[in-house]
Symmetry: C2
Subunit: 289 residues, 2 copies
């Protein structure tokens, strides 16, 4: 298994810490638990949002959040991204600050809490948008979930965290985790934006549910394939269909459901060889309740 280019740094002491508790028998237990801390994201001189995050890759989170909000459109030059550990803030600086005031006004009216993001802005630029047609092989899907389920992660260490992985064919490129699944996606988006990586030949894998928000973020990232081990909402499926995005849900061991893009799905995997993985990967995941 090739290691991803970037992933959570499990050697860091500040992403999770031991919490004392008592189990059902009254015995004292110590459990390693993920951290959660506020991060203020500034665009030039305006504070845009305070995100609750485990705290790694704050620059990518800020860039990806602003990018997925449509606040860093094409042509806007980012002149600096500065993270200050003490004030728990990231400042993203651009050469010209036009149009943001207007966006912020709209945002004030429609900041979508239940979406965990800004609804008004999120849909912007999606009207009539179509994803590049992308082939997806079931052998890639199974290889990816096999690798991702076994990859060293805060999920396996501490649980109660979501993971999002940028993949190419059967190779995980970028693995991000966060308490909020939208943060993990935004960190991937920030990495892509910073590195100038195109989404056209990529697959986005997430442990979280396929809500409209996830499909919309994936579309903003230009990624034509979105897969998850979790369930989905009706609107998430409808959006993927209208965007020409291939959507795979409930990907567990051998099982999955293709909700959009069946015609682009190539069923080249030998299912009998996959089923054996199921119980192993289940056990791996079983510690997260």
């Amino acid at each position: 298994m090739k290691a991803p280019l970037i992933a959570p740094d499990l050697s860091r002491e500040d992403l999770a810490r031991p919490i004392k508790g008592f189990d059902q028998t009254g015995a004292e237990v110590e459990i390693r638990v993920v951290e959660e801390r506020p991060l203020s994201i500034w665009l030039n001189s305006r504070e845009i949002v305070t995100a609750m995050t485990i705290g790694d890759y704050p620059e990518y989170l800020a860039l990806g959040f602003l990018r997925n909000q449509g606040m860093l459109p094409e042509g806007v030059e980012v002149t600096g991204v500065d993270y200050d550990d003490f004030s728990e803030a990231v400042v993203v600086r651009t050469r010209e600050a036009t149009d943001f005031e207007e966006k912020l006004k709209r945002r004030t009216r429609t900041s979508g809490c239940a979406m965990g993001t800004v609804f008004g802005d999120m849909m912007e630029g999606l009207e009539g948008l179509k994803m590049p047609p992308a082939e997806l092989r079931t052998s890639w899907l199974y290889a990816l979930s096999h690798q991702i389920n076994r990859m060293p992660s805060l999920y396996l260490e501490a649980g109660a965290i979501h993971g999002t992985v940028l993949c190419q064919k059967d190779h995980p490129l970028v693995y991000m985790e966060d308490v909020g699944r939208h943060n993990a996606v935004d960190k991937v988006a920030g990495w892509m934006y910073r590195e100038g990586v195109s989404g056209a030949d990529k697959i986005l894998y997430t442990t979280g549910r396929l809500t409209s928000e996830m499909v919309i973020k994936c579309a903003h990232m230009g990624i034509p394939v979105l897969a998850s081990r979790s369930g989905f909402t009706a609107w998430g499926a409808s959006l993927a269909q209208s965007l020409g995005m291939t959507l795979i849900g409930r990907l567990r061991g051998q099982r999955f459901v293709c909700l959009s893009g069946e015609e682009r799905l190539i069923r080249d995997a030998d299912l009998s060889s996959v089923s054996a993985e199921e119980s192993r990967s289940r056990r791996k995941g079983a510690q997260d309740e």
Copy 2:
């Protein structure tokens, strides 16, 4: 088992709908999937937020959201709550509209997407706050999760949805579900606010993770006990300890972890009688992947 006073109306056709897909064998499958639609919440003449919700109990969601945001403080008289199906909006009217503009200004700066809510306002009024000391019996915990896991729900029907249950001793009073776990909690808060029900002698059960947001909302609702079948974050546990809130995580079958309030926990349940439930309740939940 006594039925709760209020729960999702499973006879409604508009909370979930069948979605066509293809499984791993290429066979066409039809899956009942929960809906997700925007709901604009207005406070008098100001649109406060657009929430993504399954769409039931919009009046409770609006009242509970505003209440948990500190935008409906004691003494503010609600003169009307009007839901308009066509425009997908709820307008909450109060006699005096003081102070909201100021709150909205703050909100604009700190609306915490990753928290799925407004961080700045959420912490307000929690400084030095202590929950009323409340006893919790393990027999109640086991009885509640036994009932809740088997209660007819959108979760059992369609999955990909969170549930929050307001309980008293071993009796589930109010069962709310939503795509966003914070919406389900806000609907419970709205019901309590509308019905004038105190949280002091209640237990809040949720299927979602115990993040700082959940603990903060529970504190705003005046509920001294919060329990979840899911995991928790370090800050969620710390907040509960400082608030004197009893916090129970990873409540599955016989197992649980008490993260705060061990001294108020009465271990009166016979564990050997509980373990038998585990596999049954696991199977019940197993259809949600």
